[in-house]
Amino acid sequence: MVKRFLYSQKVAPYVFVLPFVLVFLVFWIYPLASSVGMSFQKVTLGQEAQWIGFDNYAKLMGDKTFFKAVTNSAVYMVLTLVILIPFPMLFAVLINSRLMWGREFFKSSFFFPALTSVVVAGTIFRLMFGEMEGSLINSILGWFGLDPVKFLKGQATGYIALVALATWRWTGVNILYFLSGLKSIPDDYYEAASIDGASSWQKFTRITMPLLKPTTIYVVTISIYAGLAMFIESMMLWNGNNSPKNIGLTIVGYLYRQGIEKNNLGYAAAVGVVLLAITMIINLAQLAFSGMFKKEE
């Protein structure tokens, strides 16, 4: 009887998707709900939680360190978007053009950095951006007669190190995304444009860019998400969650500091909820702005 029930065509699909439902409820919905709940409480491990309404949020609004973290994450996100969208797109177009020599070789070698873990890549960049005169970046500056720079002690230079790390790791991956997008553009469009006497630039702006839009939207979406949630890169560069004057502190870093290092779980949960809200708002705005929701008309 039970067997016939489980084997029926009506019940089988639920059996198939059951693992997802369980994981979703236990490891996503429950933590998410408890995170939202915790953000209205004062929670310390081992003590009874207390409801304190919007106190955590009120405190957060006056928390200068939190705003420092938000600023850092936002600057990082914007810089990665500015570098890691247009350049990989241009490179993909060049790789795809018939003027390209060594296509496969460049495609693979650009992808190499993505194979390294953040820990290894972060270690390499920490040592490359070391403040000694002999470290890689400073010795290159030396060739041009420039003085060594203490990269990880200044705000602007700290951003440079972070963005350099991101650029190194993700350029190749984003090129692959754009290449897979380019594959779906029919060659006839370009042939027709050539017959009409369009220049290469016109072909790029009138055919390539508009038709790459779905890929671009995808890459922008994941970059916003990854930029705002960045943490381990900073943790590796500064070898921990503490940087001079918090120049490397990110939103998730602050969440980690409050929740794990200071055992301030309720306050950390509020940081998490704010991060979720920021990510959702920016992404929805971006999708609305790029006309993603009108696609079905």
Partner: protein, 277 residues
């Protein structure tokens, strides 16, 4: 024609320069693994190629020294293999449920799959940490495997792949009297095989390189994975830099070999999400 050749040379030169910039860190870490660790403290990572200062000491220490590197290495290997196997089979099963049937609540559930892909995992760190603590799973590999076992990105990819598999296979199976599960196990899974490679690579790479969550839940250094172990070597005193640099170098090698052998699957796996926009 001349103009075309000039353009070809210009593009090639541009790419050669970028390629050089991208490969410099690899070059630096490779030569550093032949130099004494104290050089790193004194000079940082650099490009100096000086044979007289180079030796195989670090490699000798890596393979014969008294340290936990290979313990971490095999922990990572074990965790990666188990995690990938479980994630693939569970996600493929779920994806089949979504692809093959129409059932009540299907669309809503699929929106949940998409939702998971949009919420930064990082905001769940603390409540998840508490949950794992309450479940008594701290310091276990289950704590790392379970939350991701029904991977949204993997389900999404498999469902896309299955939408290209003819439904007639399922109908034919039913006519032959196979059960719903028999159809999946004996008829569909073999057809799905090609799509497993790309997802194995994607999940394998994520698992091999995964850091933050394992770092939070594993406290016993016997259970550390490679990234966590390497991170512990990065001390302010720099007393472990010999092992750190040669260990970092050595940890890249297996993935490089896999990449060279299975490049197509790496690329398919990495770009899986972007295909349909």
């Amino acid at each position: 024609m001349k103009k075309e050749l000039a353009a070809k040379i210009a593009i090639f030169a541009l790419f050669a320069v970028i390629c050089l910039l991208i490969l410099i860190p690899f070059y630096a870490v490779t030569i550093a693994s032949f130099k004494p660790g104290e050089d790193l403290i004194r000079y940082g990572l650099n490009l100096r190629f000086d044979v007289s200062a180079m030796s195989l000491d670090n490699f000798a220490y890596l393979f014969t020294g008294d340290h936990a590197y290979f313990k971490w290495f095999f922990n990572s290997l074990l965790l990666t293999v188990v995690q990938v196997a479980l994630t693939l089979i569970v996600s493929a099963t779920v994806a089949y449920g979504f692809a093959a049937y129409d059932f009540k609540g299907k669309n809503m559930l699929f929106v949940c799959v998409l939702l998971i892909m949009m919420v930064p995992f990082e905001i769940l760190l603390l409540p998840l940490y508490r949950l794992i603590y309450d479940m008594g799973l701290m310091n276990s590999y289950s704590a790392i495997i379970l939350p991701g076992v029904a991977s949204a990105a993997t389900i999404f990819f498999f469902r896309q792949y299955l939408s290209g598999v003819p439904k007639e296979i399922i109908a034919a199976g039913r006519v032959d009297g196979a059960t719903e599960y028999g159809i999946y196990a004996r008829l569909i899974l073999p057809v799905m095989k090609p799509s497993f490679a790309a997802m194995a690579i994607l999940n394998g790479m994520n698992s091999w390189n995964n850091f933050l969550w394992p770092f939070m839940v594993l406290s016993d250094d016997n259970k550390y994975t490679l990234p966590i172990g390497l991170k512990t070597l990065l001390t302010p005193y720099g007393n472990n830099y010999d092992l750190l640099i040669v260990g970092s170098f050595f940890s890249i090698i297996p993935i490089f070999i896999l990449f060279v052998a299975f490049q197509k699957y790496f690329i398919d796996g990495m770009t899986a999400g972007a295909v349909k926009g």
